[in-house]
Symmetry: C2
DNA sequence: CACCACTTCTGCGAAATCCGCAAGGTTCGA
DNA sequence: TCGAACCTTGCGGATTTCGCAGAAGTGGTG
């Protein structure tokens, strides 16, 4: 009647939190389905989720709590920064000599930096910066990032228009 | 006792949804405070938010509903893609000849593309791609993106390690 | 100033949800 | 066989959500 995701809960998809090789918990199909529900609506009631994934309300509650505790997922409000008063954003590509990770850590510590990723290619690090205005952006890039010892060069891409921003992993 | 954000709701911060010049709604201090609460916990009850921002439960509910309807904010579960089974991610810089926006729209239509932004600098568009494995990633970049008419060239930055990912705009 | 249209906030029941808890079943692995 | 982990069912009580009616403030107009 109502689309069940799981028919039989047989051996190959039962464990919801075993540790895999790299230390991150492995997710089974049911937890994935729960996350999917919460990606559509973070406030969806547990009973509705349970009906959708084929679990009781209590079980969903336990799983969600565990997923949150483990840090696998978080339920948050996300906004378009422009609407909230941050008018200048940029992606900054950084080239590093020496220890890349320590530079990445330094960037991570800056509150204006929303996103830091170590990458392969012509940049060692990509960092997204969210600022209130041009002065602020300039300050962060030139005075703070370029000033870090070990930063060889940077290249900035100022955002003109945000076209897409999704959080629908697994919903494909 | 409990920190009130707003003391007097006087003229200069009353409107919660007026249209500003560029068409995006302007937010007042109260809505900002509500968003802030929901960035800490997307499931926080309306009454608790109301207490924190100095509004009744019903008022908070109405404002949240409006913010959601307007698309100013969404309440969702966010995860680390790696944990959910997407092992390859990349940022792709795209150079375009002709209409940049139509290319951006095409990218937006691809489910593997999580993030699309039009930028100034040596790339016209930056797009973040989330894939299950190398084959998938290769396919998206070479067969689908490069195949778009108007795409002059692309450059890929494969993610090695995600260091930071925040959703705390306004919480500074 | 009076009046109207509009929006927002408040207050209040009724319904739904959340939450903790307990008892019992199943499966898996030590 | 035992323990651990997980799920289910069921249950109340506390909390939250939800819809609605009424009050209050704003802006525009004559």
């Amino acid at each position: 009647m109502h689309s069940e995701v799981v028919a039989s809960r047989s051996a190959d998809q039962r464990d919801s939190s075993r540790e895999s090789r790299n230390g991150t918990p492995t997710l089974d199909a049911v937890s994935l389905a729960i996350i999917q529900q919460l990606q559509e609506d973070g406030r969806r009631p547990y009973a509705a989720i349970g009906k959708a994934v084929g679990l009781s309300e209590a079980a969903v509650r336990q799983r969600v709590q565990k997923l949150l505790d483990q840090g696998v997922m978080q339920i948050v409000a996300v906004t378009d920064p422009l609407t909230v008063g941050f008018r200048r954003q940029a992606m900054v590509g950084v080239n590093v000599e020496g220890d890349v990770e320590s530079i990445a850590d330094a960037l991570t510590g800056m509150s204006e930096v929303e996103y830091v990723v170590m990458a392969a290619g012509s940049f060692d690090i990509l960092a997204e910066i969210v600022c209130e205005d041009d002065d602020h952006l300039l300050d962060v890039i030139n005075k703070r990032i370029r000033a870090l010892p070990g930063v060889r060069s940077t290249e900035s891409f100022v955002y003109l228009k945000l076209k897409k921003q999704t959080y629908m992993w697994g919903t494909r």
